[in-house]
Amino acid sequence: MINWKAHPFLRLLLPLIVGIWLEDWLRWTPSRYLFVLPFLFLPFFFRYVAFKVAFRHRGLYGLLVNLFFIVFGFVLVSYRPEIYQDNHFGKYIDGDNYLVGIVAKPPTHKTRLNALLSIKEIITNNATHAVRGHLYVSFPDTANIHYGQLIALHVKPKPFSKVANPYAFDFRRWQYYQNVHYQAFAKENQWIVLAENQGNRIANMAFRLRKRFQKVLHRIINNSRDVGVASALVLGVKDDLSEDTKEAFSSTGAMHVLAVSGLHVGIVSIGLRYLMLAIFGRAKARRWWRLVFQLAGVWFFVLLTGASASVLRAGVMFSIVEIGLALDRRASIFNSIAASAFLLLLWNPFLLFQVGFQLSYLALSGIVFFQPHIYKLWVFESSALDFIWKLSSISMAAQISTFPIGIYYFHHFPLSFFLSGMVVVPAATILLPFTIVVFLFDFLSPAIADFLGKALAFLYHLNTEFIFRLSHFEWMKLNDIYFSKWTVLLCFGMIGSIGAWIISGRKQLIFYVLGLLTLLSLERNVLKYQSANRSEIIFFKVPKADAIGFISGPHLAHYDRDSLAQKKWKYATQALKIRYGITQETPLSEKVSSPDFGLVKANNFWNYKGRIIEMVPPILPGPRDFKSNIIYVTENLDTNTLSHLNADTILLGNQVSRKNAEQIKQFFLERDVIVYNLREEGGWIIDN
């Protein structure tokens, strides 16, 4: 099957991944002495290294090695979250605090300006402490914050709030994997800038260079859409991309061109390789010179695009691959890929859980693995067609190995990836170096740069136009697909089996493929069954409004008080609808009842399949024949009237103030009533 001996790092990478995943799943807080665990293996290794491993013991040795890396991965992640470190500022927080920190990344702009600060000092009532840790701060959007500033703040750091609604984007989790655990909200006059340029000098230079090149692009290209594309493609600047540009590229499967990553670094790396061959000649003795300049160029590009995580990753990946090739042409490229993954995971094990990392490595592995076989299927006489086919085969190979993850995260599959790949990838291959050349000319003579820039602008325009035209074909976009984790696993199993089938030629592997396909169909059936028989009530957490959803099968009926704005509703429910396979959505008005659906409304009472929800206020004391299951509180209540409330559960809606919520909670603490605060806990699902 796989010749493990040829890919040593692959053998080590897998147990490391297992260890990392395991600890993340278990989330054990590290004890002081956990880090000792890997060292316990030393005596065994020593014994097996100093004295040769007997052939009959080779299994044990292998087991020990695997175990070691599992434990190692485990320990690596245990200590990783920065809140476990001794002098994390989280330990000193008490309400409002004064903190001093440096802006660690260029801030991002949405409705407000968000910046990540690396905290250096915190001042509590008694003393000043030197600390560590990152804080995600939200500034007003007119604030003048940029990379490298030293800022003093007077804010209230808080952990991130729990995910707002079921299946919605979990910001807290995302930040957890970025190793950021606290956020703060800064209003006007709650911060001052103490100093500038405190950040890394090299990063500063890179950002300055990037700003300069951005200006050049703005000068050369007049169309705002094209400028956004060019900035993203060459400089990794996403700020100028409009929403429809992103939508157009995403729905045609060309989004990977706009996020600087492996593709771009690969183009630069390979381009430089040819350039070096041209300059230095093919002599084997010269290969180290070629390598040095090639790597210098690649890392300059990495710096230029802001050295974001994905670019750094790609940089490491290609550097190691190129070094591997220079060392020995016969060496396995898989090994280099695995080695780069290994090193990156040592540096930051959380990368394993980030989309960019997963997509990068899957795509690259897929390309390396499948592309030659796909390419071989068709031979063209014309070298131009051959070239196009070569690129298409790369596109297809990448798509094969990434589509399960792509659908899992993004819930869509663009059929037009084939067409878009054939255009944007060659386009990027040309545009990227061309643009860099124009930048370099700009240093010498802006006039020449402008002249060349005209051709460049034209090419960009063609490219963007093509994508936009392509995105008009709605039928090519398959949307709202839900893949569970099992689906992804089974898909990869199938892909792996097909791959093995192709490589080894063993026709029995078809049974693996079909068997996995059957399991996949089974899984899909299970999901469909669940979807059809689903009966739930969901109370959504939406800012300053109330929304209740009643789900029966693929049908969602929702009631909004004060008619909820479309955007808020969409944000809260988009992922949920895809997950549940909701095909029909009905807004409920005040008067309607749908007994067939299971829902009956009487004044302020909802009766959904026997479960009774009472909307309060108005508070209706006095005897009654039934007890409400749930009381939904829509406004602040007078504490004197709380004794009139009689239900199993009291749900505090989104418009109940924090103070009142506390009062109500306190009131019902002794009695046997559950009080659930939507604003604090997030949306709530009840199975009905």
């Binding site: 500038e196 078809i510 396909l517 979807s531 300053k544 029966s552 704005a565 399949k609």
Partner: protein, 386 residues
């Protein structure tokens, strides 16, 4: 190419067929899943509806009948509660708006209505075109946080005035805020005088912008200052706290001037209003600076009252060539820090800048943000670049 891969034995073919059939069956099954319709227990349902009616019979609550709302233009700062209801506002939102206003809140622009608790965006979009707030001047900039603090400034008049004699109402009509006017009056009552227009800048609350707008109108009558018997201490700055007013005893010979860079302590002492204490302070300050380049710097000497300085000022002159300069790019920490115009922080940055790989040119050094523009102007005469 020839494909030995795809040739299967009979048993294998059966196996493949059965698996494919299985998949097709599963596919068909998936279409049969339907959602069961819910059948209410009619008895229970009727009982439920009856109970609810009974409950409501016990507690007659005016159902929130939203009347057909007719939209018309309104000013959210003046409109009444009932009028809000007739526009279609819910009771809650209307109540919140009234509360906000009674606490001093003011709606400066249409958008600030959105922040009222309970206001939903759909309704807001409906009524937004009907919101009329007069005085659109503030429509864009003012935040809503402290509604009481921003008082609109009335149009100001423009006429020449002497800050030493202008009356309170004249100052107010010129556009001075109440606070600044009071400060000016207080200052004058304590005997303070404005010898030159720039002294106005020192009044607490005076901004550069406002000063620039009235600077042209300042006309100070110099004649009132000839009587030097009426020297009083005008400003109680931290420098002068505790100092007593003193009448100068010595008479300074007419026409004589003191060269401030070379004068000794005794010579300083001879100046009227300056005794041993201030003389020593001035000289000590001069050592620290490395010399004066402008007469005004003498005023910065420790605890020297402004009035005394103004008094001796006509007798001072400066020979700026004798300044001791240093190169901030090569000087050591102590030298730089010692200089009164350079703070500890700035010294640290200078040291950092010195560690640069290449020795920066003067322009680079000066543009590195160690000093603000004003600070730089002030300290520049002491720098000597190679």
């Amino acid at each position: 190419m020839q494909n030995p891969i795809l040739i299967y034995s009979k048993k294998e073919r059966w196996g493949i067929l059965s698996l494919v059939m299985l998949n097709l069956v599963l596919l068909l099954i998936s279409f049969t899943f339907t959602t069961p319709k819910y059948e209410f227990d009619h008895q229970k349902l009727l009982a439920f509806q009856k109970s609810v009616d009974e409950i409501y019979a016990l507690h007659p609550i005016e159902k929130e009948v939203t009347p057909v709302a007719s939209l018309y233009h309104f000013d959210p700062n003046k409109i009444e509660f009932e009028e809000l209801l007739s526009l279609g506002f819910s009771k809650r939102v209307a109540k919140n708006m009234i509360n906000y206003r009674s606490k001093g809140g003011h709606f400066y622009n249409a958008a600030s209505l959105q922040k009222i608790y309970g206001m939903d965006s759909v309704f807001f979009e409906k009524i937004a075109p009907f919101i009329d707030i007069p005085e659109k001047k503030w429509a864009t900039n003012y935040p809503q946080k402290h509604p009481s603090s921003k008082v609109p400034k009335p149009q100001k008049a423009s006429f020449p005035f002497d800050p030493n004699t202008a009356t309170k109402s004249e100052l107010l009509s010129l556009g001075f805020s109440k606070r600044i006017t009071n400060n000016i009056i207080n200052y004058r009552n304590k005997g303070g005088k404005f010898y030159k227009p720039e002294s106005l800048k020192k009044i607490y609350g005076m901004t550069d912008d406002f000063y620039a707008s009235i600077a042209d109108n300042i006309q100070i009558n110099k004649a009132q200052f000839t009587d030097n018997q009426n020297i009083n201490y005008q400003k109680e700055t931290s420098k002068t706290v505790g100092m007593q007013a003193k009448k100068p005893k010595n008479i300074w010979p007419k026409g004589k001037t003191l060269e401030i860079n070379s004068a000794s302590v005794e010579e300083w002492d001879k100046l009227p209003g300056i005794g041993q204490y201030f003389a020593k302070n001035i000289v000590r300050y001069r050592e620290k600076l490395g010399g004066f380049y402008d007469v005004g710097q003498v005023a910065e000497a420790y605890r020297l009252p402004d009035s005394t300085f103004q008094f001796i000022r006509p007798f001072l002159e400066v020979d700026a060539s004798k300044i001791h300069r240093f190169n901030p790019q090569t000087a050591d920490f102590k030298t730089i820090n010692h200089h009164p115009y350079i703070t500890y922080e700035q010294t640290k940055y200078c040291m950092k800048a010195q560690k640069g790989i290449r020795l920066m040119s003067k322009e680079d050094f000066l543009t590195v943000k160690i000093f603000t523009k004003e600070e730089l102007e002030r300290v520049a005469p002491y720098f000597l670049f190679e």
